[in-house]
Symmetry: C2
Subunit: 279 residues, 2 copies
Amino acid sequence: MKLVRTIADMQQLAREWHRNGKRIGLVPTMGYLHEGHLSLLDVAASRSEEVVVSVFVNPSQFGPGEDLERYPRDFERDRELCENRGAAAIFCPSVEEMYAGGHSTWVIEDKLTAPLCGASRPTHFRGVTTVVAKLFNAVLPDVAVFGQKDGQQALVIQRMVRDLNFPVEIVVAPTVRETDGLAMSSRNAYLTRDDRDRALAISRGLRKAREAFANGERHASALRLLVAQEIEDAAGRIDYVEMVSRQDLKPLVLVGEPAMLAVAAFFGKTRLIDNCFLG
Amino acid sequence: MKLVRTIADMQQLAREWHRNGKRIGLVPTMGYLHEGHLSLLDVAASRSEEVVVSVFVNPSQFGPGEDLERYPRDFERDRELCENRGAAAIFCPSVEEMYAGGHSTWVIEDKLTAPLCGASRPTHFRGVTTVVAKLFNAVLPDVAVFGQKDGQQALVIQRMVRDLNFPVEIVVAPTVRETDGLAMSSRNAYLTRDDRDRALAISRGLRKAREAFANGERHASALRLLVAQEIEDAAGRIDYVEMVSRQDLKPLVLVGEPAMLAVAAFFGKTRLIDNCFLG
């Protein structure tokens, strides 16, 4: 497995692979890998010959006062996990390599990024779309795999790819959960034992909403309440619990089209997100 | 020569060329080609094996009340000119092909686009950077050639390519002029005979400034005045006459680094731009 630290080296390697008729699969990550990330590697490997994992804690997607500095990092462990899971390369540029002095170009999606996490974290998605565009141009993938846990992010990236004509197929892979239901996230490392127990309210609420939906409940307010109630009972602080169209992320009153029930909530100081698709 | 109307067909053709080891050169245009454009084809041909000319009047770079509807078009003539000049393909998508319903992603450079044309045409460069990113992803060029006449545009594109890591070499080719000095532009077609005679003031002023610079004049105000005086004497309406750094487009007091003397002025209803590099 190769370690690639510069954009020029990555482009050269990608072009070599393409000249040899290889398809490239990209799994963009901020490192501190867990089984959720590794499942994305497997999906990428099923659709390409050379899997590249990018490991880059992207400063531009963190807002002021967010957790950029304390975001968990363990590169040696990430390297071992990627190698064992069959990655062909890790692309791990420095911040200086990715953001040259005087960086002044941004990729901005201005509709799907307005609600949900975009409302709470106003510059977050600008950082995400910009860094993903940069990663696409560095790694030149044929396919890129994102996790459904970051559901809004996946829809925003699909829109960006369509609107800017990136020649990249986007695959959204299912959320991987701990055996007790908690969605895997690098940020789970922040949780105290007590936070973590209470945070199960999120996946429990989503499961109850899925069951109610399966039993015929179509009112967004009733389904949202099932989730909100669980979180409040566990003394979590809700950022949002929303039922939105998977087409345009507009809020739904009745679930009559493909929908996403999306949650963000704080347990202790840790903000967690999760979602489920309905319909 | 091929006519390619869809993004998918263009990407497929580009990938075929790349698989066969061909380098692709792109000349992005809005059509109504003149010798200035054709000189860009020659530059592209000197640096690549397959030259693609894109012909697309991009709505998103025109502001409200600008000349989108009356922008001159003559596709049959453009096709003949490209074929005779050795282009391998014309990429000529429809507006619907380029801007799918609900287009919501923009590439925005927010420093170099602030002054000069960006001050007069606030949404212009957002349209330019977005469409050029889309063209790059459709045509997948190794090299793209832009004209120096649109000097700010060329610098903005170079910045975008650097910031977003597009694997494309940008070449800026010299402005081509009519024998009397007028910079070639598709918009020259708007000029009445009288407008056209008076519009020579722009290139005459720039020539005087270049001569003064060659004779040692370094004060930006003096060099700008030489241009402004010519335009005012010819009853042109100045939009701007600015001396800026070619690094960051910031205004200069003294020309002690690579500079651009940039002009925009109206003759009749027609807005013309021109520039020269100094130092």
